[in-house]
């Protein structure tokens, strides 16, 4: 059986997200024609999530940094939410007519992001090939290799994903699952853990 036709899990994925007192979910209605017009709105949404979750943190100093804890949370959440949303929207299959969603769950020193989008099987398979390569590589070497690829104009370097992992120490889990009503649509669920 092809990998795309069965459930596939990679990285630090858990079905159950631990209960959290603070969480928030945004849904974006599916509509491919409006992507260009709405692109800026994803950035605004990411900034909103950054501001919203930063408000739970004090402005304490962070060792070896000139940016306090609240501003660190704001900037990190905003960057990660923006990258996750950009990817989810870019690779979303509108045929499924399902919304892209992003949820953030807050814990004492951690935030869990969960993003869901619907992809066609070819895109889902390319993504999984990349994930397998990433998980079987030395991160530092792989990062340098992909950066060189991006810098010489080769596509598919996935610098967004690698920046979150390499620069922000974000930990990823992925689940790919056929989406029941549509045989040619794969539900892609990405779980990202960020230590604060």
């Amino acid at each position: 059986m092809l990998p795309t036709s069965t459930l596939q899990i990679y990285g630090e994925f858990t079905e159950e997200i631990p209960p959290s007192e603070e969480y928030l979910t945004l849904h974006f209605s599916p509509n491919s024609a409006a992507r260009k017009r709405r692109w800026g709105n994803f950035g605004l949404s990411a900034d909103f999530l950054g501001d919203y979750f930063a408000a739970f943190f004090p402005g304490d100093e962070v060792p070896e940094s000139k940016i306090n804890l609240r501003d660190t949370v704001k900037a990190a959440v905003s960057f990660i939410a923006n990258e996750l949303l950009e990817n989810a929207v870019k690779f979303n299959e509108d045929a499924a007519n399902c919304p892209v969603s992003i949820s953030l769950h807050l814990y004492e020193r951690e935030i869990i992001f969960c993003v869901v989008n619907y992809a066609n099987p070819t895109i889902a398979e390319t993504y999984q090939t990349f994930i397998r390569e990433l998980l079987n590589s030395d991160l530092d070497e792989f990062y340098t290799q992909q950066l060189e690829k991006a810098a010489t104009g080769m596509s598919g370097s996935s610098m967004g994903l690698l920046t979150m992992i390499n620069d922000y120490a974000a930990r990823f889990g992925w689940k790919f699952q056929p989406f029941e009503p549509y045989p040619d649509v794969i539900e892609v669920r990405v779980l990202v853990r960020l230590d604060l």
Binding site: R35, W39, K90, E148, A150, A151, G153, M159
Partner: protein
Amino acid sequence: MEIKTDDYSIWHDPESATIFFRGFLRLDGMEQYQPVMEVLLQAIDQSSSLTLNLRELEFLNSSGISMLSMFVVKVRERGNLRMILQGSDKVLWQTKSLKNLQRLMPSLTLEFG
């Protein structure tokens, strides 16, 4: 040459051979970054050293980081061009990601302030 929008501005000061970036840059993919790349490429035709002042650039998405890395490789290919990146230690993405560009060009100078 300069680019000015509600979200960001980029301008070249030929006298100090510096390109200044300000605001929030999160364009949709490399194609959208082409006009920014053109500002950068025009500037390296005009001098033997170039400074990119990013201190007021509060946000850059990964496509923008890829655009900067493409530019660094273009500078590297010239062989005789000195480049300085000025970052802010109060802007998180800069403290996290700018140093990676030195992997592409070890002679690149990073100045944080």
